[in-house]
């Protein structure tokens, strides 16, 4: 593991411990009140979810056309994180929606496309696990389709008139809300980088172990 890893874990832990205080100090939103606070974790995890799908797609494309196993390990790690952060988005979203819209789920474009991106990441992991030899390339092809979905998720709220707030909300936030939000974004980004590095490290160790077994057999 690189030297920066452990200190950054400590920084991330402190930041995650501090973020509830910032969120508690941010002003109440006029119509939704307390329940709007879920936004400070919902939006950062959604951004990281999309970012992770993009990382997975780019690494997969480079693996597919370049053939480097490093990129394949990165794509695998990113796919798992897409599932993880997607799960956070898809749990916090309905919790918020139940109070704000009165329903748990609405088949609107952004919700549907996010769910679809999450399912593609699941499919990626299933293929890797049960596809047998050659499934790494197969999964890489799938990841490209998953990445193609990302811009669609992002712009969907601006093109379709949906119930979900548009992307233009973020720059118009009052300072206190913006501060809590961007702090949470930094927390989640840091967590993403750390988990990604850890997961890639695990795959590297696995690859080394496989290579050792192979050399033992010969």
């Amino acid at each position: 593991m690189p030297k920066w890893f452990l200190p950054l874990v400590a920084v991330a832990a402190v930041m995650f411990a501090a973020s509830p205080f910032l969120i508690a100090n941010a002003p109440y939103e006029a119509t939704m009140g307390l329940v709007q606070k879920i936004f400070y974790y919902h939006l950062p995890s959604a951004w990281v979810f999309l970012l992770s799908a993009i990382v997975c797609g780019i690494a997969s494309a480079r693996f597919l056309f370049g053939g480097s196993p490093r990129q394949d390990r990165l794509a695998y790690a990113a796919a798992e994180l897409t599932v993880l952060f997607g799960a956070i988005v898809l749990v916090t979203g309905p919790l918020w929606a139940r109070k704000a819209w009165g329903v748990w789920w609405q088949w609107d474009v952004r919700l549907t496309s996010s769910l679809m991106g999450w399912m593609v990441a699941w499919a990626y992991l299933l293929v890797r696990k049960y596809g047998g030899p050659g499934s790494d390339k197969l999964a890489a092809g799938l990841a490209l389709f998953g990445m193609a979905n990302v811009p669609f998720v992002y712009i969907s709220v601006n093109y379709w008139r949906t119930i979900h707030p548009a992307t233009s909300v973020v720059p118009t936030l009052p300072v206190d809300m913006g501060l809590a939000l961007w702090f949470a974004v930094a927390c989640f980004l840091l967590l993403f980088v750390l988990l990604l590095r850890l997961r890639v490290y695990l795959e590297e160790q696995r690859a080394r172990l496989d290579a050792l077994y192979l050399s033992l057999d010969e």
Binding site: M116, L126, Y130, L142
Partner: protein, 224 residues
């Protein structure tokens, strides 16, 4: 390139016309699906609102999955896949040929399915034949574009029968949604053509994205 695609298509259609194996099994399966939904949902001659649109597309998607699984399985069984890939032909041309074969097969199945669904669900599916065929054709191309790529890739994988739907359905969700919504819009008493046009435009955009991605990735995925 167009010539190669045409030759692959001709070969597939010749094999298919001689045995009709995929056509019959796909059609039988799709019709069974429609009948099951008709038993379950149509009560006293009344079908649920928009039911016909959903069931038509479910039948196409399920039948399509069966057909997609078989086209490359046949190549594998008769050991002709290697020959096909070793032929001095561009990989994208092989893909296009296979894709056109699947689309032709599914369109043939749809010609039977549409009147059947219209009859069982008392849906005025045939009142706008032009728009319905536009929706069905663009939707089928989008579904088959992804399906052909994945079934070709899965030929060598373990448990390929299970994995094809796992890969195919999450990605084709937007195609199915657009297809269902457009068909449902066509079933309304006074059809809002602007809405149908919007969904068809979305389907064309999805087709373009899927076909481009598939053409781009078919070559590295089929080489090893």
């Amino acid at each position: 390139m167009i010539r190669t695609a045409w030759l692959v298509l001709k070969k597939d259609l010749t094999v298919e016309v001689r045995s009709l194996e995929i056509a019959y099994t796909t059609l039988f399966f799709a019709i069974s699906c429609v009948l099951f939904f008709a038993f379950a949902l149509v009560k006293e001659g009344k079908a649920p609102e928009d039911g016909a649109a959903g069931i038509l597309w479910i039948a196409i998607a399920f039948g399509g999955t069966l057909a997609l699984g078989r086209t490359f399985e046949r190549e594998r069984q008769s050991e002709t896949l290697r020959a096909l890939l070793m032929a001095p032909a561009a990989r994208p041309a092989i893909y296009v040929g296979k894709l056109l074969g699947i689309v032709a097969l599914l369109v043939a199945a749809e010609i039977v399915l549409v009147p059947l669904v219209a009859f069982l669900f008392q849906a005025p599916l045939l009142s706008h034949p032009f728009w319905l065929s536009a929706v069905l054709l663009t939707g089928t191309i989008g579904f088959a574009a992804v399906g052909t790529l994945f079934s070709a890739m899965l030929v060598r994988a373990r448990s390929r029968d299970v994995l094809l739907p796992v890969l195919l359905y999450p990605i084709t969700v937007p195609v199915i949604i657009a297809g269902v919504r457009a068909t449902a819009a066509l079933l309304q008493p006074d059809v809002e053509l602007a809405l149908v046009r919007f969904w068809v435009a979305l389907l064309i955009a999805l087709d373009a994205v899927f076909v481009t991605l598939a053409l781009w990735t078919f070559e590295p995925l089929m080489t090893d």
